[in-house]
Each structure stands twice: as C-alpha cells, then as structure tokens.
C-alpha cells in the first residue's frame, strides 16, 4: 500500500464540502450551547441531569466509535473471521448494567465514579479511593485523548501525507473549541449529530464494500471455494480461538455488567447515566447505545469479510488493519470520499470531546471542588472546569507527540485495570461487607501482580507466557488472595453511612444487615 494515497485519489470540491460542513456544524454547537454550559458545574458536566434517553445513547455509540476502532475490529475479523465479533463484544456489559449497575449508580446521584466511592464507603479509605480514582481518571482520559489523536495523525499521514503532528493537533484542537465553550452540552449535542452521521455513513460504506466484493452471495461462495467457510461461523472454536477464550470474553462482558468500574468504558458511561433525566432514561440510554455499537460491529464484520475475499493473503497485521480505510478511500466514487472522511472526522471528534470533558470532570469535581476549594461558587467552578479542559488538551498534545514508544506500556496499564479488579468492582456493588480497604488493596495487588504474571515471571522462565484469558483468571485468583483477607481483617464501613447509601441507591445482593437496620429505623418498608 502506498505511504499516502492522495497521490492516487484526489478530493473533489464536493468531498471537501462534506468535511468542512461537518466541522462548521460542530463548532456551531459550542456557540449555540455556550449559555447553557456556563450556568453551573452540573450543567457544564451533566447538562443539568435532564436529558432524554436517546441523547446519551447516541453519545455512547459515538464515543465508543473512535478513529482506531475500525483498525482494531478489522484486525480481529480479518484474522479470526466472524468469531472475531466476540472480541469487541465486551460492550455487552451494558445488557446487564442497564438493569442493574446503571439503576444503582443513577440513584446514587454521584457526579463521577470517584464521588460514588465517597457515597458507598466511609472514612479515610473512601477519601483515599476517591483521590486515587480522580487522579487515575484524569490521567487515563488524557492518555485516551493522546492515543486517539495519534491515530488521527496516522490517518492524515496516510491520506494527505501530512506530518504526524499536524493531523494530531489540528482536529483535536478544533474539537476543544466547542467543549471549552459549552462543556457537556456541546459534547452531547455534537455527539448526537456525529453518532447519526457515523452510523449512516458506516452503513452506506459497508454496503458499498459488499457490493465491490461481488455481493453477499459471491462473498459466501468465494469463502466456500477457498475452504474458508469456517469464517462465517461465529461459534467455530479451535486452538487459535478456543471455547475457553469465548467463555471468558462472554462472562467478562455479561456478568461484568453487575459491577461498577470494571471496564474502562464504565467511566464515560457513568457520566451519561447521571446526565439522563430519570432512571428509566438512564437504563435505556445505556442499553440502546450499546445496541448501536453491536449493530455497527455486525456491519463491519460483513464489510471486512468482503475485504478478506478481495485481499485474502495479507500477512502483515499493520496492513490488514487498515482494510476498512482502504476499501473506503480506494473504492468509493468521487463525492462519497468526502462523506467517508466526514464519518472519520465525526468518530474522531466525538471521542475527543467526551474525554476532554470527562477528564476535566474528575479534575474539577473530585480534585479541585472536593479537596482544594469546597466553598467555590458555581461561576468559579465553571472557570476551573474550562481551565482543566484546556490542560487536558495540552497534556494530550504532549503525550500524543511523545507516545510512540510508550504506547505498549500504556496499553499494559489499561490491561492492569481490567483483570484483577474485575471481581472487586462487582463485590463493591453487591456485598455490604466489602469495604474501602479491600477495594484499595485489590487495586494495589493488581498493579503488582499484573507485572509479575504478564512480564516478570514469564521473563524469568518461572511461568510460561499464558494466553490473555488464562492471565485474566490467574490474576483474578491471585488478587483475591489479598482482598478477601483484608475484607475480614478490617472493620466494616460505618453503618450510618451504609444505611444512607442503601436507602438511596437500593443495591442488589448481600445487604441483609444494612437493609434490616434501614427497616428498623423506618426508612424503608419491609417487603
């Protein structure tokens, strides 16, 4: 493939029109919703908690469709066929969350997951957890911004031959305009438009891809003729994709929906849950947003199988990961290439906007407002929120321009979050006795043991290099050896605090003593 493809394919005037029109509409969002965004901290970060379900739903879909998403999904479908659909299936945690953790979190009224720690737990442990999560999330959002902006830099180099820094800085900078001006109002309103544009665009482009490969029947026939029919079976298991791996992915996704904070996606979703008008709106927003994401995955599966039929022998992962982009830019007719580029811009801007605002939320609500200036006025908080948004942008540029070598270390950091705290993140929702020290110890143990299991012990030859899904269960077990004794060796959280939380949030699971105390105090009625 050529280093950059615009030497082959030129943008027509109509193509440029689509791209510029999208940017103008997004920037207009910042101007239109400027007044709403500046009214208070709650307006700047949660749009006043008054959104109907379909706005956060499209935002969830738009946010989780980033510039690097088609590369990743193309990679797994090209390699594994239709069964590769189970890798991005983790978004199905929303199937359960919509009716369990979403309801509980919405009822808690916490502005962020870090604030929820203060409501669920009490004392010093709760403060330590809140501080840790606030710092971690501020950094993680900056990292995601840098990562996604770097992916945009690569796309612009591929398309236009721009230097890496120009693609990285330009579109992210434009996005920052409407996030700085209108806060979450700007994010949600532009996400709605971006979500609709992205979904329609992906549908049209995937349809075109299938057509270019000869149509659906020809794709199936070509796969059969080359002995590759197994690629059409989502439940085909072999040594490359064993049943145990599928079950791990499936259990992680579905049972994980009971917990809070066990997926990196939980944090933006938590913001959308709280911005919904009612509990019902929150539940449907999560459910519908994930459904749109799964439909998108289904569309991509068919398009990438079309790409496989057209180019079956690509061995280099970096090359076949660009398959969807290649189909779009090399096979779409003039005038539609601009729509394709507008779709790419839409999915880029939506992710950037979300993480700029979300990082600023943790820095403002959980660090500045909670620890530095608890008496701050609403106008002061909005000023600080804008300043923090700007800091997130600068941090994103610095990290993005220097991250090529550190990317794999930071992906490892994401993995650290996923494995060992998956079960504790469920326990904190369903078990009253699980306290702040147990959750903190799980985080610390996870940080240490992930290094041991993934890098140190295999490096020393003590442990073989295990597949991801085996590492996951081993880490879950090893971290459990730490937090379970800590739970029983430390005192439970303050009963007064737990009762208050229980009455408000009504969590499910093992809350017997707290429930009995709430009934005794006349705060809830016995069933």
């Amino acid at each position: 493939m050529s280093e950059h493809i615009l030497s082959v394919i030129k943008f027509s005037g109509l193509d440029w029109f689509w791209a510029v029109a999208l940017i103008v509409v997004m920037v207009a969002c910042g101007i239109i919703f400027y007044r709403l965004g500046k009214r208070s901290e709650s307006e700047f970060f949660l749009a006043g908690r008054g959104l109907p379900w379909w706005l956060p739903a499209t935002s969830i879909f738009a946010t989780h469709t980033a510039t690097d998403t088609p590369m990743w999904i193309t990679g797994v479908i090209y390699k594994y066929g239709m069964r590769g659909i189970w890798f991005p299936f983790y978004c199905a945690w929303c199937a359960v969350s919509a009716f369990v953790s979403t309801k509980i979190f919405r009822r808690s009224l916490a502005m962020s997951q870090a604030e929820w720690q203060n409501l669920r737990y009490s004392g010093l442990g709760a403060e330590l957890l809140r501080g840790w999560l606030a710092g971690w999330q501020t950094f993680m959002n900056m990292f995601v911004l840098a990562w996604v902006s770097a992916a945009m830099g690569k796309v612009c180099t591929y398309l236009f031959g721009w230097p890496h820094w120009l693609g990285l800085v330009s579109f992210t900078g434009m996005c920052a305009f409407y996030v700085l001006a209108a806060g979450y109002w700007g994010v949600i309103m532009s996400d709605f438009q971006q979500g609709v544009i992205a979904f329609l665009g992906i549908t049209i482009i995937c349809g075109w891809n299938i057509h270019e490969a000869g149509g659906p029947t020809a794709i199936v026939a070509k796969l059969a003729a080359s002995g590759q029919s197994w690629r059409l079976n989502p439940f085909y298991f072999d040594k490359d994709f064993p049943l145990a791996q599928f079950l791990t992915l499936f259990v992680m996704a579905t049972v994980g929906g009971i917990g809070m904070g066990n997926f990196i996606d939980w944090y933006p979703e938590a913001q959308r849950i709280q911005s919904a008008k009612t509990i019902r709106d929150a539940s449907y927003s999560i459910w519908a947003g994930a459904l749109m994401t799964l439909l998108r995955n289904g569309l991509w599966v068919a398009a990438i199988l079309a790409f496989f039929v057209m180019f079956p022998n690509i061995a280099d992962q970096k090359e076949y990961e660009m398959g969807w982009f290649r189909l779009g830019f090399e096979y779409l007719p003039m005038g539609m290439i601009g729509i394709f580029f507008a779709v790419i811009l839409a999915i880029h801007l939506s992710t950037i906007a979300t993480h700029l605002n979300l990082g600023a939320l943790y820095a403002t609500r959980d660090l500045y407002h909670h620890y530095i200036n608890p008496q701050a006025s609403e106008s002061r908080l909005v000023q600080v929120a804008r300043f923090n948004t700007f800091l997130m942008l600068i941090g994103c540029f610095v990290l993005g321009l220097s991250m090529r070598r550190i990317t794999e270390w930071l992906i490892f950091a994401l993995w650290l979050q996923a494995a060992g705290i998956w079960i504790p993140s469920i326990l904190q929702v369903i078990w009253w006795r699980f306290n702040s020290w147990a959750y903190l110890s799980a985080w610390v143990a996870n940080l240490i043991m992930s290094w041991l299991v993934v890098l140190v012990l295999p490096g020393l030859g003590v442990l073989p290099k295990l597949p991801d899904y085996q590492q996951f269960w081993l880490l879950a077990l090893m971290v459990g050896v730490v937090y379970l004794p800590v739970t029983f060796l430390t005192k439970p959280d303050d009963m007064e605090h737990l009762v208050r939380y229980y009455v408000m949030a009504r969590p499910l699971g093992f809350w017997g003593p707290v429930r009995r105390e709430a009934i005794k105090r006349g705060l809830i009625k016995a069933a």
């Binding site: 239709m82 659909i85 299936f89 199905a92 199937a95 359960v96 919509a98 009716f99 369990v100 309801k103 009822r107 808690s108 009224l109 916490a110 604030e115 203060n118 409501l119 403060e127 995937c206 299938i210 659906p216 029947t217 794709i219 199936v220 059409l232 989502p234 579905t254 929906g257 009612t278 509990i279 019902r280 709106d281 539940s283 459910w287 994930a290 459904l291 799964l294 439909l295 995955n297 289904g298 569309l299 599966v301 068919a302 199988l305 909670h370 620890y371 608890p374 605090h497 208050r500 408000m504 009504r506 499910l508 809830i524 009625k525 069933a527």
Partner: protein
C-alpha cells in the same frame, strides 16, 4: 405478580424481583442474536435472518417485562431527587 405486570407501587418497584433477572437474560440473548444476526443477514445467510428476528423479539419481550417497573421506580425517585441531591452534597464533603 405476573411476568408482564403493569401496575407497580413505588415500594414494589424499588425491590429487586424476578423481572430484573428476566430482563437481563432477555437483554443478553437479544444482544448476542442481533450482533451475529446482522452480520450474517448482510451476507444473505438464512440463519442470520432467523437470529435477527429472534433477537428483536427478545428485545421487545424485555421491554414489556421491565418497562412498567422502570416507569414506577423513576416516577417515585424523581419526586425525591432534589432532597437526595442536597444529602449527597453534604455526605461527600470532606470538610464539615
């Protein structure tokens, strides 16, 4: 209480019941079938259309089971939300 119960009191809606479990199961089945169904249907595979149809039916059933409960719970909680928000502001302050 029937699985398609329409009349919920706020107290009943606040409790976890079998309806939540059924909604979760139907929701997961719906997601699985829609995800693989749409991909297969686009390639005109018959089983894809069948999976997609069953997935949609599961989604509709899920809505019928859980929506009346969600409505009752949301309505009751919305009335108390302002009072709860004031409580939250006090509860999460680290300075008294």
């Amino acid at each position: 209480m029937g699985i398609f119960e329409k009349n919920w009191t706020p107290e009943q809606a606040d409790e976890w019941t079998v309806h939540d479990l059924v909604a979760c199961v139907l929701s997961v089945v719906s997601y699985v079938l829609v995800a693989v169904g749409i991909a297969a249907a686009l390639l005109l595979l018959v089983w894809g259309f069948v999976a997609l149809a069953i997935g949609i039916i599961c989604g509709v059933l899920m809505y019928r089971v859980i929506d009346p409960k969600l409505r009752a719970m949301s309505k009751a909680f919305a009335k108390r939300q302002q009072q709860y928000l004031e409580q939250v502001d006090k509860a999460v302050r680290w300075e008294k």
